[in-house]
Amino acid sequence: MSNKIELTTPLSTEDVENLNIGDKVFLNGIIYTGRDAAHKRLIDLLNEGKELPIDVKGQIIYYVGPSPAKPGKPIGSAGPTTSYRMDAYAPKLIELGMKGMIGKGNRASEVIEAMKKYKAVYLGATGGAGALIAKSIKKAEIVAYEDLGPEAIRKLEVEDFPVVVINDTKGNDLYVEGANKYSKE
């Protein structure tokens, strides 16, 4: 990894413009969760011209559906889900000022283009490391769509939440460059 950087949300355009693929970032502050069903509802609201239950400006959405919290814990295991399923919804949210997405797996070219145009980044969390990642989540509170269970939108308070920059604001892609570097085909 190139650099180790600490960032606190909400993020500014300058914050994200300074990031490069491969950078290891530790996030602090508030991040929101959202996956398939919640994204569909957010975009449906926008299409109807209605207001969203959260203001996405400067914010980060983490694609996660945590396992249930045990008594005394803020959250259960909470690793990322595969991001491409949110590709249809992400460009609209980026246009509205969302500055980051946390997930795992490849993004569509439309999402990468939107990140370039409106200045946002895609951050990777280690998939399948849900027990470890949960350690950096200090508080969790459902803020919308409680009926969706694990898919509800949660407000998370995080400390040193570890991510890697996969797509930066310049159109670079760690998945492409990483594989090219180690390919022996």
């Binding site: 069903a37 795992k104 027990a131 470890l132 694990p150 594989a179 090219n180 180690y182």
Partner: protein, 279 residues
């Protein structure tokens, strides 16, 4: 005839899913250690260390390795001299899943395919039942996550493509899946049978331990060759680049129709979870 009560089946199923979701097998952990030592990429080694640490925390705190605690897949070998008493066999299994996912604080991921409404208790279980000789019941629990499952494919190949065509398809499937299925993955390959049989063989292949080769030396060689080719793709752990894209490749082969060459590739993420018990 030996009697087995449904209450016992429920308890075993409950315990197996709680165990499988929190305790990664020693074979998988050993494969992590191998990658930590051998991968050329420093980023890959760092990711593998995180996965090892994650498995340690999960085991110590009895919390799920991954929040995706899967659909509840079961392979059951029912001895033909067993008489199930106490109630409905299938209900007993579903009750075990219900209890295990609730009491183990495991995520309920089963939903209606169209409305997407969650069934609320992770049932119904996916049950593969086989009648075998003897008076025992062998239950294998395989919580299967969605991310890697989504990258799996069945293909009806033309017989003319032969074993090379099979190998190419498997390698390309892994290449196209890229970072999505949470590499390093385990690849189950089902070859032969019919359309649905090949998929079942691919799933069953995932029950093997890392490093366990097919008993047929020719097929074992093909497994090793495909694994080597996959690990030359450069995808690496989490897709960040490296030499550890898959931990193993398992082929299961059965006869097929003279017109067909069915091939199924079932991808399993690094949280390769399966536990078994015998009643």
């Amino acid at each position: 005839m030996r009697e087995v009560h449904t209450d016992e089946i429920t308890k075993v199923v409950r315990d197996l899913f709680m165990d499988a979701n929190c305790n990664l097998g020693e074979d998988v952990l050993a494969a992590f250690d191998h990658a930590i030592e051998k991968d050329e990429s420093p980023v890959a080694r760092e990711v593998m260390k995180e996965l090892k640490e994650n498995a340690r925390i999960a085991r110590e705190e009895n919390s799920p390795i991954c929040q995706d605690t899967g659909l509840a897949v079961l392979f059951i070998e029912l001895g033909q001299d067993v008489h199930i008493v106490g109630g409905d066999f299938k209900d007993a299994i579903n009750e075990g899943v219900r209890q295990g996912y609730k009491e183990g604080y495991l995520r309920k991921s089963a939903c209606d395919p169209f409305s997407r409404k969650n069934t609320g208790d992770n049932t119904p279980a996916i049950i593969h039942l086989e009648i075998v000789p003897g008076d025992k019941v062998k239950i294998m629990a395989v919580p299967k996550g969605g991310g890697a499952e989504n990258m799996s494919r069945v293909n009806m190949l033309t017989p003319a493509v032969g074993v090379d065509g099979v190998k190419d398809f498997v390698v390309n499937r892994v290449k196209e899946s890229g970072s999505n299925p949470c590499p390093p993955t385990v690849i189950g390959v089902g070859i032969g049978g019919t359309f649905e049989r090949s998929a079942l063989l691919a799933k069953k292949a995932l029950l093997r331990k890392i490093g366990e080769r097919n008993p047929d030396p020719e097929i074992a060689k093909a497994e090793e060759e495909v694994l080597e080719r996959i690990n030359k793709l450069g995808i690496g752990p989490m897709g960040y680049g490296g030499n550890t894209t898959s931990l193993d490749v398992f082929f299961e082969v059965e006869p097929c129709h003279i017109a067909s060459l069915p091939l199924a590739v079932n991808i399993q993420c690094h949280a390769s979870r399966h536990k078994e018990a015998i009643i």
